[in-house]
């Protein structure tokens, strides 16, 4: 390597950006890459179906789905199905929230309750909620109630466990401070425990929200309760594969939207805590 080559070699930046770019330029470039990746993925999917590698009778191509989505969105049936799913999902989530979080905080706070319930919780939470579909069908038939029961049973656990865990994560130093200032129980709960546990509770809510959407669709698919899952079965049975896939995509979009909304709410409400939080699934 000659001297001039060395001088012209770009710096192996320690935290610096490539020469000649601004922060905005970098951001745009990242977005461009992501868009490119999406286009590549869609293209690969399209080519796979068109070329016959992936059986058209089973998987619809992006263009098929787009074409089917147009007229579908105008139909009432579509929106009532989506509405049914969203309704049972939100009702189920709300109920399990009201059960799981107070219970979780209580159990987490009391050593006695924790010991009493540990085994049972450990056992019950490993039962996949889908396993309850046959029982729920037996008891309630193909109704909203069946979906609700399933959703509540399944989504209670993440929030319960995260709330319990969150109570244990209270910074011992903060706890000492509360004791030194002689907080009363109520103050302790609302000013110490709840704020400290809130990021964990928030994570639990997010996991539970995803799970309950899955269970809602599952209950509809297997149980025949009205909703997106049911539509998927119906469309598959009548051979309307593109329409079926529209519903699949819709269910994914719902999940994404829910997740994004929750993440944003979390970030805003817990701004003060975000410095201490780690990112994980």
């Amino acid at each position: 390597m000659t001297a001039t080559e060395i001088i012209n070699r770009p710096s192996a930046a320690v935290g610096g950006a490539p020469i000649g770019s601004s922060a905005l330029g970098l951001q745009l470039r990242r977005i461009a890459y992501a868009v490119a990746a999406i286009i590549v993925a869609l293209a690969a999917w399209q080519i796979g179906v068109d070329s016959g590698v992936v059986n058209r009778a089973a998987v619809a191509s992006p263009t098929d789905i787009a074409r089917a989505a147009g007229p579908l969105i105008t139909k009432n049936g579509f929106w009532s199905a989506v509405g049914a799913t969203v309704r049972s999902w939100s009702e189920g989530l709300a109920i399990s929230l009201l059960i799981a979080i107070p219970l979780g905080l209580l159990i987490g706070a009391s050593d006695l309750f924790y010991k009493l319930t540990r085994f049972s919780i450990d056992f019950l939470r490993t039962i996949p909620a889908v396993a309850l579909v046959p029982l729920a069908l037996l008891l309630y038939g193909a109704t909203d109630r069946m979906a609700l029961v399933l959703i509540v049973f399944g989504s209670v656990w993440p929030m319960l466990l995260q709330s319990m865990y969150g109570v244990h994560q209270v910074d011992p130093i903060a706890r000492d401070v509360a004791r030194a200032y002689r907080f009363r129980r109520r103050e302790r709960i609302f000013r110490l425990v709840l704020p400290s546990a809130s990021p964990f509770i928030a994570t639990g809510v997010r996991i539970a929200a995803t799970m309950s959407l899955l269970l809602a669709v599952g209950a509809e698919l297997f149980g025949g309760a009205p909703g997106i899952g049911n539509e998927i079965t119906v469309q598959q049975q009548t051979g309307n594969i593109p329409v079926m896939f529209v519903y699949v995509v819709v269910s994914a979009l719902l999940g994404l939207v829910v997740n994004l909304v929750l993440i944003n709410v979390e970030r805003r409400a817990l701004k003060w805590h975000s410095a201490e939080r780690s990112t994980s699934v």
């Binding site: 992501a34 396993a131 029982l135 037996l138 594969i241 999940g255 994404l256």
Partner: protein, 267 residues
């Protein structure tokens, strides 16, 4: 004297803890047994019948035809998932620009509820084990993949500096530095993947199959063999619990260093 008293105290607290932990489950089971003993309800048969069904039907008749194949599928699917998820995850984790670019695609795929793909999977792959294994792979891959990417990206830059300064490269670098450094995150992903896997295993058998735990539970329900249905559900609970304990044992060994480190940081 005081020493002996100290041991007694620790023993007593231990026993007390075990006692407390077992009261509720044992008591609940006993109460269930007693309360359901004279039951004539179709949906809630006596616990004794359920236990009999569990012993006779499930543990012996269905073991090799249903339970074992289901677990086999789960194991295979989980294994493939780990290989693909960790392999791809390490690659993407080391190429952050690529990882950022494909992130939206991955997030979308992750958001697809596996349940929703079941009909399509059956159409595509038929009603054999491949369908179920593929669904298990699809469902379990995302937590492992995404967690691996996160874990590799979060590797302390100083660790990479040290590796570079001592000329540690290639396979040895991956094996001795990258994978262990990311292992806490990866194992967390595997833990999530396990419970997702059990769920997918069950629902993949609720439709379009001819054997499996889920299939048998559904059959029992359809033919109103209610004790068998309940027995199947309880068996699932037991299997899930045992799998979780096994995984915890695995985690215990693999992440011993991590636990020790964090315990020290806490004190």
């Amino acid at each position: 004297m005081a020493f002996r008293r100290a041991i007694d105290f620790r023993l007593k607290t231990r026993l007390l803890t075990i006692f407390l932990e077992l009261i509720l489950p044992v008591g609940a089971v006993a109460a269930w047994w007693a309360l359901s003993a004279g039951s004539t309800s179709v949906y809630f048969p006596p616990l004794s019948q359920i236990v009999t069904a569990l012993r006779e039907t499930w543990l012996f008749e269905h073991w090799s035809t249903d339970v074992f194949p289901s677990l086999e599928n789960l194991a295979l699917g989980f294994l493939v998932s780990c290989l693909v998820g960790i392999g791809l995850g390490v690659l993407l984790g080391l190429l952050p620009i690529v990882a950022d670019a494909v992130a939206p695609v991955l997030e979308f795929l992750r958001a697809v509820p596996g349940v929703a793909l079941l009909p399509a999977a059956i159409l595509l792959l038929g009603i054999g084990a491949e369908t179920r294994i593929s669904l298990i792979v699809f469902g379990t891959m995302w937590p492992i993949l995404l967690n691996t990417i996160d874990g590799v990206r979060a590797i302390d830059p100083m660790v990479r500096d040290v590796a570079e300064s001592y000329q540690i490269r290639g396979l040895g670098w991956l094996r001795r530095i990258v994978l262990p450094a990311a292992s806490p995150q990866i194992v967390a992903g595997m833990r999530t993947a396990l419970s997702v896997g059990i769920t997918v295993m069950v629902f993949s058998e609720l439709s379009g199959t001819t054997n499996g735990i889920g299939f048998q539970i559904l059959s029992a329900q359809r033919s109103f063999a209610v004790p068998q249905m309940w027995a199947g559900m309880i068996l699932l609970g037991i299997i899930g619990y045992l799998l979780n304990i096994a995984f915890r044992g695995f985690e215990h060994v693999v992440l011993r260093w991590h636990r020790g480190m964090r315990q020290l940081a806490r004190s």
